[in-house]
Symmetry: C2
Subunit: 310 residues, 2 copies
């Protein structure tokens, strides 16, 4: 049983109540807490030494990454983050100066996005550092973007370049908060999420939530320089395209919009965000699963995204 199968089993029976607009299964939970036209977003995410970083990773970058991952989930709903609480599990011999550096990394990113750090807990995890962040935010009720709204005919977009994040970007990525809110404000986006487990795997979440399929254009997938460099190293290296489709931790935005909005959106994006690439990588189709189109034809894409837990 992998992470997704286990989660699917667990989420079937979760308790709910009247405040829940969207429960487990999207990038964030969406709650109605009586705040007028704004809904509350709620998310938790953890990073673990030896899984998401090493004992050689500078603690500032560990802290930054722990918060940035949650911010990326708020971005995926076109939301604005508000406040976070932090749980840090530490080996007993862990240096207090390193804890302060870890918090410095969290605090700097929080300040940059106007996020308050309002609580936390330090506890013991003897063998490795374990950091769990919970984050709340908000989003106008009419602007919240879910995974479930993709429609046949939609153009599929992704920001930035994909693959090879392990070479460094996973510690330094910018959560796409501004970009996501701008998209939600200016275009009728049908579905959105962040790419955290690999484009191929994550797009499948949009497809199954929306009951549709996708056809991707091989030549349009934006492959990062890091993925290209890594693809040339050693026997275990994967082709750069496969890296772009399956590597985890890109933390870019993946979204769909009605095809008639695709060109105006691209034009407006180029004026608004000069430094961040936006690629139309294919279209939503009737059916299910992902097909990849190249000069030789169309074939089903079986490559799975990165799976954390198996």
């Amino acid at each position: 049983m992998n992470e997704f199968e286990l989660i699917a089993r667990l989420t079937r029976a979760l308790p709910t109540n009247d405040s829940v607009v969207v429960g487990a299964g999207d990038d964030c939970a969406v709650l109605d807490v009586g705040a007028g036209d704004r809904l509350l977003l709620f998310k938790t995410d953890a990073v673990v030494e030896g899984v998401h970083f090493t004992n050689a990773t500078p603690p500032e970058k560990v802290g930054r990454k722990a918060l940035a991952r949650c911010l990326s989930d708020i971005a995926a709903m076109a939301g604005t983050p508000t406040a976070a609480v932090i749980t840090v599990g530490l080996p007993k011999q862990f240096n207090p100066v390193s804890v302060e550096k870890l918090y410095a990394g969290i605090n700097a990113l929080a300040k940059a996005h106007g996020v308050a750090i309002v609580g936390g807990e330090t506890t013991t995890n003897p063998e490795r550092v374990f950091i769990s962040v919970a984050l709340i935010g908000n989003v106008p009720r009419e602007k919240v973007l879910l995974r479930s709204g993709a429609k046949a005919g939609d153009a599929i977009f992704v920001t930035g370049e994909l693959g090879g994040s392990i070479a460094g970007r996973h510690l330094e990525f910018e959560p796409r908060l501004l970009e996501a809110r701008w998209l939600a404000e200016h275009f009728p986006i049908h579905s959105m999420m962040d790419v955290s487990d690999g484009l191929a795997g994550d797009l499948r979440h949009i497809l199954s939530a929306s009951n549709v399929g996708a056809e991707l254009l091989r030549a349009a997938i934006p492959i990062s320089r890091a993925a290209r460099v890594l693809s040339k190293r050693g026997d275990a290296a994967k082709p750069a395209l496969v890296a772009a489709l399956t590597d985890g931790e890109d933390f870019e935005l993946l979204f769909t919009v009605a095809s008639k909005s695709a060109v105006p959106l691209l034009d407006a994006w180029k004026k608004q965000f000069r430094k961040l690439e936006l690629s139309c990588i294919g279209k939503i189709v009737n059916g299910e699963g992902i097909k990849l189109r190249d000069e030789t034809g169309v074939r089903p894409l079986h490559a799975h995204g990165y799976v954390h837990f198996s």
Copy 2:
């Protein structure tokens, strides 16, 4: 540096914003999210195998405890819990059936208190189970109870019986949500918190937040049967009174109220909550620290509460 010293250093520089009513340092953070006369409460807490439970603890009880600890913090603010997200770090060989039992324990307690479980994450923590819960709730703006409101002359109350929780109650305690809301609705409570690290240590948090001292009546401290039984076992046992003052994980309510309300409060409590003891254990005084009064006189209490991290 112990947990409290480290936290004191870390909390000095935390980023804040306009939504923060009370940041780190009370039982929950208090946020104004524009929900009319209600404030949002936000809390995180973790339990770790080998620290808060053993590998022999039934997983249902582990899950129950993980959520109950956070519920107790919402109770401490006289709040109502709404929704939780759960992060579970698991060794790779951990049985999926045990994960389901762990969630069954969480879910049963959540249902009992009307709490929705709206998300979570399963990740790897190779050596031991690590569960982090984040919980939101709400409280009427005029009824939120902080640690900082104690006044000289206040009567000090504690619910239930203290000490010896390790004998079993730490896995089965009832968060005092109903009782706390009833107190806030019916009496002008000045300060409140939950007793999680031992009465002596926790009362000091109220005293320093409120800039006052306390005088406790030795004979009035409600000592649990478990603490008395444990006190008779072996050389390492501590006297039952010391256990009641310093054992962790009681999860009872500790609060102060103007002395003129003490007798009416006790009378009303006995009618409302027949099965749960309420004890007036002393009074708030000018000055600082805790003094203990018994038949021989008054002496300073140096015993500290249980400290998680040292």
